[in-house]
Amino acid sequence: MILEKVGLSIGRRLSVAVVVTMLAGPTGPFDIPLFATPSVPAARGVARLVYASSPFGVAVTADGRARYDVQVTASGLPAPEKLGAFNSYVAWEVTPDLDKWVRLGTVMNGKSTVGQAELNKFLFVVTAEADSTASKHAGPTVLHGTSPSGWLQSFLTHPLFRGVY
């Protein structure tokens, strides 16, 4: 079968790449690797989503969106003043189109818990701000990541469904 031969030979070559990709991905539905920006290249961080306190097995809104506290572990953040007229780092839940920013709380080197994140898919962004109580973001982004739900794949244009749409 030509089909099988072609598929498997390409398959062997690609399998290494697939494994690497999978290892680089999130380890579960709750982990957000955070990436540094040129503002602070040495910044490192991870965020973990934990369900907010709830009498039930999971915490959700009335329309069924998960409610998470975000446990942030960060390092390499300089004193905010080093970046300009700033005095704190603030975490935001941001819609994927960057349109809506919701303040979640302040973040420091070490562990901080902020919350609650309630969007199905969101970007998690940490900025330097002039005011630790800022409700609008204004300063530079120092860490950012994508909610694990951002890894959902679309199959619309995939060969598996070619001809379906």
């Binding site: 398959g11 306190s53 679309s154």
Partner: protein, 601 residues
């Protein structure tokens, strides 16, 4: 013929992720000339419609690579005999396949019109020493205008609501008059092990025509339910379930209310005018469990309640669905949660909705403060796997119609107060010293699969970058339907010994307090949430993902989301051999159960 490179990559990923397993499309069984496999002459179909059963067309060529021939795939006139979500295409590679089991529906061709119409649940108020006859039987149920042969206890769906005082013991004479073996399990009760209703562990199956006498003891106030423990995947959705309300002698156990309502949530899988048949040899829908497309409250498609403005209603909520987890609310009416499986909460709490996993119970009090109608809804976020997007989904399950006349008496003052239940905290106090001890037992939840259709393997392997902690709906019913307990094995794995499912043979001493840590491994082929149920004991969810629980309640069933680690503290008070299992009926049917022996002091 050429294979697209991207498709080859898919295949490769599938093979990589699936490890040693060799995915092949199941080879369809020999096909009768009509092209109908396992669906012909489907019993349970309405006798007077004369419409044919849905047809699963099977390709004449059983080449396992057929599923990969994409060109020309699509609508092609091949109908999937199961309903797909609106706007959702079935996967071309699954066209024409059927599950590797033959099909079963209750009644084996009995004309539904020859059976008694189902009755609504009656209330059986019983006292200590009383006897109840409980007969599982065939009934006629009409769902969306179509009559089906289904099951009911004493001809009722739900079965009789058994209401008893705490500490009562009753005798239940169970009679099996259905066409499958059965038993009755008294879910959540800490009763005598020999009446727990688990075949091969506490009793033999009760064959059709047979009987069994249960002594049912009610040591704890609360809301419980009974259901068969044989082929739950069939017998429960076909109507064999009922509630038990155990009343505390304490008159102030709950706050005063104007009405009480017991609601049992269930769903049924119906396509056109037919019930979707079940797997005869073993459960189908083994990946996700059978998720119905007709949502029912107390067996009805639309629940209705009348109330006065300002009425406070106490709802006893029980999820009896095979797989679906609900998110229930009452049209914005103010709601507080007061109790769960086996006790009240330490602290009552205002809640926007109730998350109800299979077999769980919650007791809520709801105030309908103004005239009008309040929609009882299940509101969740579905995942459209084809678009890679979340989509809100709201099902209206019923209506509470509130008149202009005022509630009498007016309990608004009592309703406005969130109570703390010191008695619950006192009951829990002796266990607090165990909250932070290292786990005595650790379980990992995972699964294995073999010989699933290739297209399923391809899809699932690519889509494992993200799995929702809770899957609220079945976004892939085609793949789910084609997976049976022959291809899918759900696993409870003991971390200490590596033993799995029924090979796990735990022994603990009566009176011991067992900390059980459960991890739901997200790195399996198809991870999913599991409502884990322990028979015959009570337990506390002391922490989730390392975060201590600050509002405790005694539970017998705990939801373990994908990727989560949950610490349970088991009060091993009741001697005997007790089942620990996932309450998704098909997961249990695909192996996900173990036994914990509580050895007498």
């Amino acid at each position: 013929m050429r294979i697209p490179i991207a498709l080859a990559a898919l295949l490769c990923a599938a093979l990589t992720a699936a490890g040693a397993q060799k995915p092949v499309a199941p080879v369809p069984k020999p096909v009768p000339p009509s092209g109908i496999t396992g669906m012909k002459g489907m019993p349970g179909m309405q006798a007077d419609t004369g419409k044919p059963a849905p047809v699963a067309k099977v390709p004449a060529d059983t080449n396992p690579m057929d599923g990969m021939q994409m060109s020309g795939m699509g609508h092609g006139g091949m109908s999937m005999p199961i309903p797909m979500p609106p706007g959702m295409p079935m996967m071309p590679g699954l066209v024409g396949l059927v599950p590797s089991v033959s099909s079963f529906l209750p009644g084996a061709g009995v004309d539904p019109m020859s059976l008694p119409a189902v009755k609504a649940s009656s209330v059986a108020r019983l006292k200590d020493g009383d006897t109840l006859d409980l007969t599982a039987m065939l009934v006629r149920r009409t769902v969306r205008g179509h009559a089906f042969v289904m099951y009911g206890f004493n001809g009722e769906v739900p079965g009789p609501l058994i209401r008893v005082p705490q500490n009562a013991t009753i005798t239940v004479r169970f009679h099996n008059r259905i066409d499958l073996p059965s038993t009755v399990h008294w879910h959540g009760l800490r009763l005598d092990n020999k009446y727990d209703g688990v075949p091969d562990i506490t009793q033999a199956e009760v064959a059709p025509g047979g009987s069994f006498v249960y002594k049912v003891h009610f040591p704890d106030a609360g809301v419980y339910w009974y259901h068969p423990h044989v082929r739950e995947d069939i017998e429960q959705p076909m109507g064999l379930f009922g509630n038990m309300l155990v009343d505390s002698p304490d008159r102030n156990y709950y706050s005063p209310v104007n009405q009480e309502q017991a609601l049992m949530f269930d769903d049924l899988l119906v396509h056109a005018d037919s019930l979707i048949p079940f797997g005869r040899e073993s459960p189908d829908f083994a990946l996700m469990g059978r998720v119905g497309n007709v949502l029912l409250v107390n067996g009805e498609t639309h629940y209705a309640l009348n109330a006065h403005a300002g009425d406070v209603v106490r709802f006893y909520l029980t999820n009896v669905a095979n797989s679906r987890t609900y998110n229930i609310s009452f049209g914005g009416a103010q709601m507080k949660v007061v109790a769960s499986d086996q006790s009240r909460f330490e602290h009552e709490a205002w809640v926007p909705s109730v998350v109800l996993a299979p077999a769980e119970r919650y007791v809520v009090e709801v105030r309908f403060d103004h005239p009008g109608s309040y929609a009882l809804v299940n509101a969740v976020q579905a995942i459209n796997h084809y678009k890679g997007e979340f989509e809100p989904e709201v099902d209206t399950l019923g209506t509470v119609t509130v008149s202009g006349s005022a509630a009498a008496p007016d309990f608004s003052r009592q309703f406005a107060t969130l109570r703390s239940n010191a008695a619950v905290s006192r009951d829990i106090a002796p266990y607090r010293k165990y909250f932070n001890k290292p786990p005595d037992k650790k379980l990992t939840l995972t699964m294995q699969s073999t010989a699933l259709p290739l297209a399923t393997v391809q899809f699932m392997s690519i889509d494992t970058a993200y799995f929702a902690p809770v899957e609220w709906v079945d976004g892939m019913p085609d793949m789910n339907w084609l997976s049976t307990a022959k291809e899918v094995r759900w696993i409870l794995r003991d971390d200490a010994t590596g033993k799995e499912n029924m090979d796990i043979d735990w022994h603990v001493r009566q009176g011991s307090v067992v900390k059980l840590r459960i991890f739901n491994d997200p790195k399996s082929f198809h991870p999913m949430q599991h409502p884990i149920h322990l028979h015959g004991q009570r337990m506390l969810v002391v922490s989730r993902d390392g975060v201590p629980n600050t509002n405790l309640v005694w539970k017998d069933t705990a939801l373990i989301p994908v990727g989560s680690t949950v610490d349970l503290l088991i009060d091993a008070s009741n001697p005997g051999a007790w089942l620990l299992h996932c309450h998704i009926a098909e997961h249990m049917g695909a192996g996900m159960m173990a036994v914990m022996h509580v050895d007498p002091r």
